[in-house]
């Protein structure tokens, strides 16, 4: 297998100057993308065959701190291009998390007011970050989860139609297009075309759909795998349990090779493993992606698996993710894997 060298990080999409790393920028919009790949070695030692490598794309390096910067930028860009977003309009959406932060950041950079609708139980960090970017928050009932925020957002728009521009990340193909144009080419270049499996969690599904579509244009044999929570009642922020949810219009399951289901608590455990063995503090969706990657790695003899780590963990420090972490020890990883394998085998 070709060596994946540091130098390959230097030209993630050499056909398009927009993606060339820049040392000076005139806007945070230029700083989105070009995130590094980190090989996950210590956390996976002894758990995967020697011919398998797992690389995580660290999307926390985006200026808004998450993968959502990419989709938000593209949706606003297309909105402006189509004349739907223009001076005088307010950007609005229902979002509990990283998309809200991305929209708030970009609204600030572009000079558009932003209003976000979210359930009241969103973490304190998120509320403060969003407000620090100057955006306004409308709160919805936490028991109604994201559906409650969606309904309240519709009501706000209905009261003053024409005032708002709604990016609508679940149904806007620009979301997936952002990943087709940036995340996919970056991964292809960063792995020197060696990527064999691409794994990403499903929230809106934009990341897995757009990146997967690009990678398959380069090599149709690349396996594209989506990851979902194993139950409607879960604690994996940003992930969608599709069977019990409104299915995003941009989700095309037939384009995926596989969908894997992961548990919340095992995913939390993976976050602790990464923090204590790899020096990487990430959010719970990254733990879910690593769990799925380990499962895939155990079924192949060689390959290059690329997973998405959507954000870093510092914006979850006040959340339930960290309940019980003090009792966690890295040696428990094998127990987690064996328990998970047993439950997976039992259900297949």
């Amino acid at each position: 297998m070709a060596t994946i060298s540091q130098s390959s990080l230097q030209s993630p999409a050499d056909a398009n100057s927009e993606f060339v790393p820049t040392s000076r920028a005139v806007s945070v919009l230029e700083l989105i993308g070009n995130t590094p790949l980190l090989e996950i070695k210590r956390a996976t030692r002894g758990l995967i065959p020697p011919g398998v490598r797992i690389f995580a794309k660290l999307e926390g390096f985006n200026p808004g701190g998450s993968v959502k910067d990419r989709a938000a930028r593209k949706m606003l860009e297309v909105g402006i291009r189509d004349g739907k977003l223009k001076p005088g309009k307010v950007i609005i959406d229902s979002t509990s998390g990283n998309t809200g932060i991305a929209l708030a950041m970009l609204g600030s950079a572009l000079g558009y007011p932003v209003e976000l609708v979210m359930a009241e139980n969103v973490s304190r960090e998120r509320k403060k970050i969003i407000q620090a970017f100057g955006a306004k928050i409308h709160f919805s009932d936490p028991l109604e989860s994201s559906d409650g925020a969606i309904i309240k957002c519709r009501q706000i728009i209905a009261a003053e139609p024409g005032r708002y521009f709604k990016p609508d990340q679940y149904n806007n193909e620009a979301n997936a297009l952002a990943h087709f144009e940036t995340t996919g080419p970056e991964i292809w270049h960063q792995t020197g075309g060696q990527v064999t499996h691409f794994i990403a969690c499903i929230g809106t599904s934009g990341t897995v759909m757009g990146t997967g579509r690009y990678l398959k244009t380069q090599n149709p044999a690349v396996k594209v795998i989506g990851v979902e929570p194993d139950d409607a009642m879960h604690g994996l922020e940003g992930l969608k349990h599709i069977a019990s949810s409104i299915v995003p219009a941009i989700f095309h399951e037939e384009q995926l090779d596989e969908v894997m289901f992961v548990g919340t608590e095992e995913s939390y455990d993976m976050v602790y493993v990464l923090g204590q063995t790899e020096g990487v503090l990430v959010g719970q969706s990254s733990g879910a992606a690593l769990l799925a990657a380990l499962r895939v790695a155990q079924t192949i003899r060689e390959g290059t698996i690329v997973i998405i780590f959507p954000d870093f963990g510092d914006r979850y420090l006040s959340t339930n993710l960290w309940i019980g972490w003090r009792e966690w020890r890295p040696e428990k990883l094998e127990q987690v894997m064996s328990k998970w394998n047993a439950s997976t085998n039992a259900t297949t």
Binding site: S96, A119, P142, S145, D147, T204, M233, T264, N320
Partner: protein
């Protein structure tokens, strides 16, 4: 003790879509046991195999997080309100 339990959207498949159900018990733990009798399957979503509250589930007794009270052993009285709230708001 008769209490009212507010049920979040992801668990309403166990309560025939109802968002608020009655239950009996002397503590949060016994209320959950009663919920399980009335709505089989719901307890497993709230408690792990050791019987502890799952990390991603929050339960509020009259608006207070039971983790800051006496956890599952928190006593309940007639007319109390219990809310089950997933730790996340869902979606991005």
């Amino acid at each position: 003790m008769a209490v009212r339990v507010r049920v979040p959207t992801p668990l309403r498949r166990f309560t025939a879509g109802v968002d608020e159900v009655p239950a009996d018990g002397v503590s949060v733990k016994t209320v959950i046991e009663d919920l399980e009798r009335r709505h089989p399957g719901i307890s497993e979503r709230l408690l792990d195999e050791k019987g502890d509250l799952r990390r991603f589930v929050n339960i509020y007794l009259n608006g207070d997080d039971i983790r800051f009270l006496d956890a599952l052993n928190s006593k309940v009285k007639d007319g109390d309100d219990i809310s089950i709230v997933p730790a996340i708001a869902g979606g991005r």
